[in-house]
Symmetry: C2
Subunit: 243 residues, 2 copies
DNA sequence: CGCTTTGTTGAACGGGTTCAATTCGCGTGG
DNA sequence: CCACGCGAATTGAACCCGTTCAACAAAGCG
């Protein structure tokens, strides 16, 4: 895959139009490609000097473990996403990161990243933009956990994932591959896996969506949007905002 | 107050040591001081080309309204905090912002901000750092809403606020002024105001903390930290990380 | 082919909500 | 100075969404 078509460039290019030298730097970041097996932490909470990664293939989730034993998944990352940027900036990981399936990712050193910011300020702006976009996603999930019921949460999460996957060409209008288990969904949405199961059945029987064998299919997109209060605009970008 | 002692400089300086020209730019941002009355939105969801602000005095909250009528408060901002940065970057506000009491804030234009990034890349880095710190706070609240019960949520929020207020010199070791109502707490923590009231009573009767007449007092800090699973480190910075 | 992980279903329980009513604190005007 | 009004705080009782415990089925994998 050429650098122009990599998921990362596709994403950052949506915020800031990138020039040759900037593309070169990003190309350099794409070296050091490594493979990680699923269920083995890439970063663990409390780790010092953790690495950041650019995810090239496969999904990972970032989460926190509570003393009580519970787990809260903060988000799912898909190809093109930065992983662990915050942890790198703060020198200590404030959350763990685990592949959901076998993944490929490029390691990015703090020094290289901050160095690139000095050379190409526009890159810093693009990354700030990307980080803000990630925050918008976390905020939207916060709203889900705070004020939406179980069915609304599930519908909203799948719509969010669909929108993000479409951006990097990994989802069609009504369907996408989704490698997460019902336990993942439970830990992401603040519910029990048992209840997730029941809600998925209801959504299926109501003709809203089907999640089976790692594939999500929207059976009635309009009603899903209506049910979950999903804002169709919130992950839509119409060309670079900084030229 | 000199620019060196403003809450904003105090905060950004914790991430990146700032040079003269950088301080000058920040000083310029501090012009345009405006006053806002409480309960009147400074920014409303969906607003196009909203302004960003640097909060100088008083508290505000940012929130989203759901079609169902419910409200989810995403966070409370205190003096020194950036407000609406994300909305400015995306040209459209994805949340509303409302003063909790009468506040003073300086307006910051997108153009000036992005311009400053070109001139002073270190400033872009500092703002990225600050934004990452804000995200860490949102993530921690996400964990609360997902996996902590009502008493843990309340305790954790007050400990978080205390840590942030201490950074800008607005809290003592065991007490701080907190202008929010029980309705604010409910909307921030995904609970009903009625339940917040009961939980506050329990915390008080158990000798853990007292919230009365706009003042929070920690009656037993250690047990509060233990109860809520608060990470004492997560808002602690030990000097600039970029010199 | 056996074992582990994931998915599925039933029944009892419980934390938190909702509805309804009362009280407190405090600024405002008579 | 007191009556009034209004938002915020309190309390009680019934209800419900989602949990927990327990069991079993299905799918994936070495």
């Amino acid at each position: 895959m050429s650098i122009q078509n990599s998921p990362l460039v596709r994403k950052l290019g949506a915020y800031v139009s990138l020039s040759e030298p900037e593309l070169e730097i990003l190309a350099k970041f794409h070296k050091n490609r490594r493979t990680f097996a699923d269920k083995i932490e890439m970063v663990y909470e409390g780790q010092s000097s953790p690495s950041a990664f650019i995810l090239a293939k496969g999904w990972v989730c970032s989460y926190k473990i509570l003393r009580s034993g519970g787990r809260q998944i903060v988000g799912f990352q898909i190809p093109g996403d930065f992983i662990g940027l915050r942890s790198v900036l703060f020198r200590t990981a404030d959350h763990s990161i685990e592949p959901i399936q076998k993944v490929e990712a490029s390691e990015v050193k703090v020094k290289d990243l901050l160095g690139a910011f000095q050379t190409c300020p526009r890159l810093a702006t693009a990354v700030l933009w990307s980080a803000s976009s990630d925050e918008a996603i976390v905020v939207e999930r916060l709203v889900s956990l705070g004020r939406r019921d179980a069915a609304e949460r599930v519908a909203h999460l799948f719509l969010e994932l669909s929108a993000r996957l479409k951006l990097v060409g990994l989802a069609s209008a009504t369907s996408f591959e989704c490698p997460v288990s019902q336990y993942h969904l439970a830990d992401a949405l603040g519910l029990s896996a048992i209840h997730i199961n029941r809600v998925l059945r209801e959504l299926r029987e109501d003709g809203l969506l089907t999640f089976r064998r790692g594939v999500v299919t929207f059976d009635d997109l309009d009603r899903l949007v209506e049910l979950s209060g999903f804002d169709r605009a919130y992950l839509d970008y119409e060309g670079p905002m900084l030229n």
